[in-house]
Amino acid sequence: MKIVVCVKQVPDSAAKLVAIDGKANWGDSPLIINPWDEYAVEAALQQAEAHNGTVIAVTIGGEGSKEALKHALAMGCAEAILISDEALAQVDSQVTARVLAAAIKKVGEVDLAFLGRQAIDTDTGLTAAQTARLLGWPALTLVSVITGVDTAARTIKVEKSAEEGRLTVSTKLPAVLSIVKDFGEPRYPSFMGIRKASRAVIPSWSLADLGLSGLKANIAWPEIMNPPVRQVTTEMITGSTPEEIAGILADKIMAEKIL
């Protein structure tokens, strides 16, 4: 079984973000593999282990994005590919999906492609479904459990999240899956894995290598801004007993007229 997992390099979730001149700045905070993508890597590795398969990690970005691929390699992915092209400096989810779909096709004979549910920088949550649509494969988004993959019958059954609970859904392979945190903790990179990743030679593919040209973002983002400053005066509630404190606090909240 051949599996592709798509990952992204993003600023650490602990980073303080500031908009300067309409652009996002995260100071000297480190860049990390998108936390959601670690669940996708874990799911991909589990399937590879269950079906004697191999996992190829793919990312789009500059040289620095190789760090996200090295994390995926250290977790246990067999290979990694960087897709790098000057024309990909400003992309939207649709362009990202076109590039990923082309990469998955170029890898060839892929049975499953995994993505995280969304990237913690742009927060769009669109890419997995769009990649599936472009490939003409079923999309299984927000998957928490992979119940079974039948490689002979070419089917997959999963549990996925919806507002109302969990749905058991089956479909045909190949398919694109996005994975949520309920799937279970991703493994830590092993010592051997880290050594292997540090020595890995990561090939770089350009858009021409993928047979793509003339990609155009449909979305423009003219401005990035700081959120409005929260104007708040904190009133500390004190009293001699919990009951007294609770009474004062409840009266204050009732006066806010929100209940």
Binding site: S13, A15, K16, L17, A24, P35, D92, S93, Q94, I120, D121, D123, T124, G125, L126, A129, Q130, A132, R133, P138, A139, L140, L142, S161, A162, E163, E164, G165, R166, L167, T168, T171, K172, K181, D182, A217, N218, I219, A220, W221, P222, I224, M225, N226, P227, R230, V232, T234, E235, M236, I237, T241, P242, E243, I245, G247, L249, I253, I258, L259
Partner: protein, 346 residues
């Protein structure tokens, strides 16, 4: 045909109330762009939803009622939406930011060769096109976005737009449409459904009571014999969360949690508020035993009134809070539940 369309999300024949917010936003846009508002309703046995859509502001409903559409599935829903939109060329299609709304908009955008503005909290019309505001980096920053192609697909964040007051006398034009895929051509099957926990949904809630790592710190509790250290910690946390749940019940609120509480195994992930959980914006957010890491703040900082209860007076959560209590949540929470019971006549 109207320029503004609104997708009405439903599950098992019940519309999600957040869909009506889309009709409210669409009415405002129609006032600027002209024309009326068309609601799209796909499902099985969903004709009653059409009357509700009219009452919440739709002028026209495109209704597809067919057994192949009973459960939302991306293939038949995307194919139908894309066909309708390519025939009638609306300028804007609004979706609620639900699991289904987000997926359907993403896939329809590919078929229609256009873009999606996801999770939008503000909309304006500039030179005849939409300029949307949306949070990025879980709300640590905001950005303005626009879609350069038509139709402009937009998913609206829940509670960011007001629904119109229901007008029971309002009605409109109902147009029935047929699905475009036969069951045999749809690879995906929904085999079963397990209802989630009962209770108020975090993203719809007007009040949220959240617990953090602090809910396990009750020194007065003695866990049952035979538990190891981790089991005892989780047992203590669950006793603490009972107090959080009690207050939530009194206030008809949803129960939230910090990532620390979820990662420690105190409460399922579905309750997590923060950058890698749900981003919420209720009228009131009561944080109990939550210190307020930057990732948690990103998920709740736009709440209207924030109340913090914490033992540590230096906890960063107090900087966001309108009201703060430094104290023992095991004593404060039951007293607060009781105080609200009295005041709310429960």
């Amino acid at each position: 045909m109207n320029k503004i369309w609104v997708y009405i999300d439903q599950f098992k024949g019940q519309p999600l109330a957040t869909s009506w917010e889309g009709l409210g936003a669409a009415k405002t846009l129609a006032g600027q762009l002209g024309g009326g508002v068309t609601a799209l309703i796909f499902g099985k046995g969903v004709e009653p939803i059409a009357s509700q859509a009219f009452q919440y502001g739709a002028d026209e409903v495109l209704l597809a009622d067919d057994s192949s559409l009973e459960d939302y599935r991306s293939e038949p829903y995307t194919a139908l939406l894309a066909k309708l939109a390519s025939e009638s060329a609306p300028e804007v299609i609004l979706f609620p930011t639900t699991t289904r709304g987000r997926e359907l908009s993403a896939m329809a955008a590919i078929d229609l060769n256009t873009g999606v503005l996801p999770d939008v909290i503000g909309l304006e019309v500039v030179d005849g096109s939409l300029l949307a505001t949306r949070p990025i980096y879980a709300g640590k920053l905001m950005c303005k976005v626009k879609c350069l192609t038509k139709p402009q697909l937009v998913t609206l964040r829940g509670r960011a737009f007001a629904k119109l007051l229901l007008d029971a006398s309002r009605t409109g034009t109902l147009t029935k449409v047929s699905p475009v895929m036969g069951e045999a051509d749809i690879p995906t099957k929904v085999e079963a459904y397990a209802a989630g926990e009962a209770g108020v949904s975090l993203t719809d809630a007007s009040v949220i009571v959240s617990g953090g790592r602090g809910v396990s710190n009750n020194p007065k509790l003695t866990p049952p014999a035979g538990m190891d250290e981790k089991q005892a910690e989780i047992w203590k946390a669950q006793q603490g969360f009972k107090l959080v749940e009690e207050l939530a019940q009194v206030l008809h609120a949803a129960v939230g949690a910090s990532r620390a509480a979820v990662d420690a195994g105190y409460i399922p992930y579905a309750h997590q508020v923060g950058q890698t959980g749900k981003v919420v914006s209720p009228d009131m957010y009561i944080a109990c035993g939550i210190s307020g890491a930057i990732q948690h703040q990103a998920g709740m900082r736009t709440s209207k009134v924030i109340v913090a209860i914490n033992r540590d007076p230096e906890a960063p959560i107090f900087k966001l809070a309108r009201y703060g209590v430094v104290g023992d949540l095991y004593a404060i929470l039951p007293a607060l539940s009781e105080a609200f019971r009295k005041r709310l006549g429960k």
